[in-house]
């Protein structure tokens, strides 16, 4: 019995005995000429314990992002510098393979730094599930709008046919995108994957797949498709070309959202520009040529910079593949300097598309001149490409670069929020007001990304979706007003509610939704981002909150001046009537959806949070 007990005790203690304890001396020489950790490079096994014991002098232990950093960023921390005593590294840091760099804060510049190599020294790559589908859903998603384009072209001499074809095609795409969203589900990893090798010698393939990050964007693109077509129902000028370009644009944007290969991603990214250029240049307002020109050149130049970044990633990874998944796996081998440069290149490409101040000047021009359908796609989908690209293509392979640029991103985001809102407040053109409000809203989304936390990223994606619904609706309102009154100048408007009570109700609902009324989708996004930002940056939150005050201000002020108040005498209001059916239905649908996603955020939030968690896992942040 006694023997058995002893054996039992042994069994219980054995694991504890296996965990070896290592001791590191934290000290300095008597004359203060050298400061050191002894040993400075410590090799331990997984599960070992590391104890630090103080010798001479006042020191502390703080984790550093890499072996060259001079300051504490995040991670383990022994507290303020102390004299004497000891400190044990929390057990969680030695649970997995990896390299931990640390330093003594007061003496980092004197070279007092060390590192602990746990196990193999390389952080384990988190497994991301790849699930190849049995049915090529995503290929169909890309092909159907393209077929619609050709079909429209075939019926170009028929006045009615193109719009019917476009509506049919976009409805089919909507059904497909809903199916894809449901099939993508909310578990980790990529679903419905397809791979078609395009060039084996360079590792280019049409690698398609959706996860919780792209599925909501696919859904958004699907929803906006039929609404755009409906809203442009009465387009008289070259309808076949118009609807054909809209459908082409849909293929291109969907392509960006579902592709997982840098080369093909860039391809779709640029293809987006061509139909958009023509939509603005042919069907736009008086200064359409200038606006289209500016838009094209701005975004093209920026994406070339991005392309160089992609090439650098490809060569540095050395895996002979453009697959985002494979390249992200190599991120551990990218040097910090390399990551900073490449992240900067990618960020320029994405920031112009978002757009962030100071790269935003193309946006108001393009928006004001674009036809309403063009504005809908521009605000609803194209502005999302930038943030989506940032999260999909830049964060996972370049974690250190992203971390380095956090202050820049935060600063740009806050400036965009406040500057965008302030400019909106000053606008008299309703459409320009909405355009600047987009800059402000996308600033909130970037702020979410800059927190690099699960909640922040999820809030950013939710903001992309919510803004993707409500901003197009605001442009539709501007379209309705222009259509009926011939002007969008806010001071000339007034009292529209008296002439079109039902439509005015929709206007109010949309304006309130856009300013972040609880119960509508934007609120969920703003709340998540602000909570995450408060957790990571504390009271800096007051700055974006101040931006929110301005946001509420310009929304309500514009509403009050244009829809309510006495009937305007400056324009002919005699003919003002309720919006037409093809204008009302899209607006109504959007209000319904905005409420739906405001009340039941988990429909989107659960896949989004899982995807954001995956991104952070790939970055090594969790």
């Amino acid at each position: 019995m006694k023997r058995l007990f002893a054996l039992g005790l042994l069994l219980v203690l054995l694991p504890a005995a296996a965990a070896e304890t290592h001791t590191v001396e934290v000290s300095q020489s008597d004359d203060g000429s050298s400061y050191y950790f002894e040993p400075d490079v410590l090799q331990v096994a997984v599960g070992d314990i590391v104890r630090f014991e103080w010798g001479n002098g006042s020191h502390n232990i703080a984790q550093a992002s890499d072996g060259e950093a001079n300051s504490y960023v995040s991670g383990f921390y022994s507290g303020e510098p102390q004299v004497g005593g000891n400190w044990t590294l929390p057990a969680e840091y030695t649970e997995t393979d990896g390299t931990l760099d640390y330093l003594c804060e007061p003496h980092a510049l004197m070279g007092m730094r060390g590192s602990i190599i746990v196990g193999s020294g390389a952080a384990p790559i988190p497994e991301i599930t790849l699930e190849f589908g049995e049915f090529p859903w995503l290929s169909y998603l890309l092909i159907i709008p393209l077929l619609g384009t050709m079909w429209c072209w075939g019926f170009r001499h028929h006045p009615e046919a193109p719009r019917v074809i476009a509506l049919g095609t976009t409805l089919a795409t909507l059904l497909l995108s809903i199916t894809i969203f449901l099939k993508a589900g909310s578990s980790s990893g990529y679903r419905l994957m397809e791979e078609y090798v395009w060039s084996s010698q360079f590792g280019v393939s049409l690698l398609l797949g959706v996860d919780g990050l792209s599925a909501p964007m696919v859904l958004l693109t699907g929803i906006l498709g039929p609404l755009t077509v409906l809203f442009a129902w009465e387009e008289q000028k070259r309808p076949a070309l118009f609807f054909g370009l809209l459908l082409l644009l849909q293929t291109a944007t969907l392509g960006v959202f579902v592709t997982l290969d840098y080369f093909v991603f860039y391809l779709f990214w640029e293809v987006v520009l061509i139909p958009m250029f023509f939509l603005v240049a042919i069907w736009g307002g008086p200064a359409r040529r200038y606006a289209a020109y500016k838009f094209f050149i701005y975004t093209f130049t920026a994406s070339l910079v991005m392309l160089v970044g992609f090439m650098a990633l490809y060569f540095e990874a050395g895996a002979n593949t453009f697959s985002m998944i494979e390249i992200a796996k190599q991120s551990g081998s990218f040097a910090p300097t390399f990551q900073k440069w490449v992240f900067a290149a990618l960020f320029i490409g994405f920031a112009v598309k978002m757009p962030m101040v100071p790269f935003h000047t193309w946006l108001p021009d393009a928006h004001v001149e674009a036809p309403t359908a063009g504005s809908i796609v521009l605000a609803g989908i194209m502005l999302k490409l930038g943030l989506y690209g940032l999260m999909r293509a830049a964060l996972a392979p370049l974690p250190l670069g992203a971390e380095y640029f956090v202050p820049v991103m935060v600063a740009l985001a806050i400036v965009s929020i406040i500057y965008g809102a302030a400019l909106s407040l000053a606008q008299t053109d309703l459409k320009k007001l909405v355009a600047y409000s987009s800059i402000s809203h996308m600033g909130i989304a970037l702020l979410g990304v800059a927190t690099l936390t699960e909640l922040g990223l999820a809030g950013a994606v939710y903001m992309m979706f919510a803004h993707g619904l409500l901003s197009p609706a605001m442009f539709m309102i501007a379209g309705v007003v222009l259509h009926q009154l011939g002007t969008r100048d806010i001071p000339k408007l007034g009292g529209l509610a008296q002439k079109q009570p039902y439509t005015a109700t929709l206007f109010v609902a949309i304006f309130l939704g856009s300013l972040g009324l609880p119960g509508m989708a934007t609120f969920v996004a703003e709340l998540s981002v602000f909570v995450a930002f408060f957790q990571s940056h504390g009271y800096w939150l007051l700055l974006p909150i101040f931006g929110m005050v301005l946001t509420a201000g310009y929304h309500l002020w514009a509403l009050q001046r244009s829809v309510f108040g006495p009937l305007s005498k400056e324009v002919n209001v005699e003919k003002v009537h309720e919006a037409l059916w093809y204008e009302q239905w899209p607006l109504f649908t959007i209000v319904t959806l905005a409420v739906l996603f405001g009340v039941l955020p988990q429909i989107l939030m659960s896949p989004i949070t899982v995807a954001c968690y995956d991104i952070l896992r790939l970055m090594g942040g969790v």
Partner: protein, 480 residues
């Protein structure tokens, strides 16, 4: 070794001799034109059969002067295609002008010169090929002898051309004096005893000057805008697509093969010329009002992109350069086909002539747009792929060690963005303006070349770039 691989050359030579005779007997200019086009078609299909039918396992050498390998077959095929399309367009473009038989005879001899350049294996043969092509083109450029522009362009081309030929020849003679051989293979094997030889550098400078003229590299580009503007448009297409590619063939043979071991002598020189060429070309193109001049400067810029691959000297970069040379021939040739069609229709050669082209002819408008966007390098058109893999190759060489090559990539990328300005101006005119003035309807003859260009740029090159690039890489590998 039989001579069947030289069949296209013999055929062209025979046809060039027989064509004037046919005219003297029948007095039928139209027949002569058709015969010339038919000859080109036969030569083209013969090359196709030789190339793809049996494959080409070992290079075949003839008399030590000509060598048929993958590289030369590829370019022979390209030159014959260009000449064939030029022939078709010319049939309609020349209309009832006098001296058409001479025109087609010259077209055949110029093509023959290009074929010889493509397979020359010693410097003298190379030079003879260059001169044969050059002399034929001088006359072709000045063909519309009643037109001041055309004759002026011809005179300019002749003067600058003969000057540059002299430079090339002098460079070649210096090389001969230094090494005692003219064979490219022996030059490549020559043992240069020092790291850097002043005499060799002078020879290189002369050859660069002479061939830089052919590809219109800065500072030897001044002829290009005048000649492109003044020459009959099919001839311009022939020069822009064919003659330029021929210049690159000669450059590749001389620098990469013959002087490949003395990379250090010319690497930096060509790198600097590349950057200057692309920048000057694009900046000058910004201000042009004449479409021919604009495309000429764009040609200068494209020459800069291609030259950037030379200093890299890797199979991938050179393969990309060859690929871009060929795709450039398609894009530029296609653009000039449209310019010719618009010109025949009486809309003139200014950028303003393109106003509202979309409402006159959807096909021509679309083809022009695709060609121009392709020249910028915007996906999904063919030009993007060739340009991407060209810069990819240079980037790779840069990452592999020679860091300064990355500047070539950066310069190329920035220049691509710059070039968008002037191409977009034409596209904007095509789609957003209303047509002005009356125009004759567009003929049927441009329809098929335009469709072929569209098919190539939208479907064939994007979908099959992997295969095409492999071909070009094989060609590059056969050089190295």
């Amino acid at each position: 070794m039989g001579l069947e691989l030289l069949f296209p050359e013999f055929l062209l030579a025979a046809a060039a001799l027989l064509l004037p005779g046919t005219y003297l007997l029948h007095r039928n200019a139209r027949l002569c034109g058709q015969l010339a086009v038919a000859t080109l078609a036969v030569a083209l299909s013969a090359t196709w059969v030789q190339w793809f039918g049996e494959g080409l396992v070992t290079p075949a050498s003839y008399f030590g002067h000509l060598q048929i390998d993958v590289f030369s077959q590829l370019f022979k095929f390209a030159f014959l295609t260009i000449a064939f399309v030029t022939g078709i367009v010319s049939l309609a473009y020349l209309g009832e002008l006098p001296h058409r038989p001479e025109f087609f005879t010259l077209l055949l001899t110029a093509t023959l010169g290009m074929l010889i350049v493509a397979s020359a294996s010693d410097l003298l043969t190379l030079f003879i090929g260059l001169e044969l092509a050059a002399f034929s083109s001088y006359a072709l450029v000045a063909f519309q002898k009643r037109d001041d522009g055309s004759t002026e362009a011809g005179a300019k081309y002749l003067l600058i051309g003969s000057f540059s030929s002299a430079l090339t020849l002098y460079g070649i003679s210096l090389l001969y004096g230094l090494t005692g051989t003219l064979s490219i293979a022996s030059l490549a094997a020559h043992n240069w005893n020092s790291d850097f030889s002043g005499a060799l550098f002078v020879a290189i400078l002369f050859i660069t000057g002479g061939l830089g003229f052919k590809v219109a590299a800065v500072p030897f580009h001044a002829w290009a805008p005048d000649v492109y503007q003044g020459a009959p448009t099919p001839v311009t297409a022939f020069l822009a697509a064919g003659s330029k590619a021929m210049g690159f063939v000669a450059l590749l043979r001389i620098f990469v093969v013959a002087l490949g071991s003395m990379l250090i002598e010319w690497q930096l020189l060509l790198g600097i010329i590349a950057i200057v060429t692309m920048t000057v070309g694009n900046l000058a193109a910004l201000r042009q009002q004449d479409i021919g001049r604009m495309l000429a400067y764009s040609s200068v810029a494209q020459a800069g992109y291609i030259l950037a691959a030379f200093p890299a000297m890797t199979e991938l970069a050179l393969g990309g350069a060859i690929f871009h040379t060929l795709v450039h021939a398609v894009m530029k040739g296609g653009a000039f086909v449209i310019v010719a069609a618009v010109g025949i229709a009486g809309l003139g050669y200014g950028i303003d002539g393109y106003r509202g082209l979309a409402q006159r002819s959807q096909l021509l408008a679309l083809t022009m747009t695709v060609c121009l966007l392709s020249l910028v390098g915007i996906p999904p058109f063919g030009g993007f792929f060739s340009k991407f893999w060209l810069f990819y190759g240079i980037f790779q060489a840069g990452m592999a060690g020679q860091q300064w090559l990355l500047w070539l990539v950066i310069a190329g990328v920035l220049n691509s963005a710059l070039s968008l300005f002037y191409y977009l101006r034409v596209i904007r005119n095509i789609y957003t303006e209303d047509p002005q003035g009356e125009a004759r309807p567009f003929g049927e003859h441009t329809r098929y070349p335009a469709l072929a260009v569209l098919l190539l740029l939208i479907l064939l090159i994007p979908l099959e770039y992997d295969y095409l690039l492999t071909l070009c890489r094989d060609a590059a590998a056969s050089l190295l």
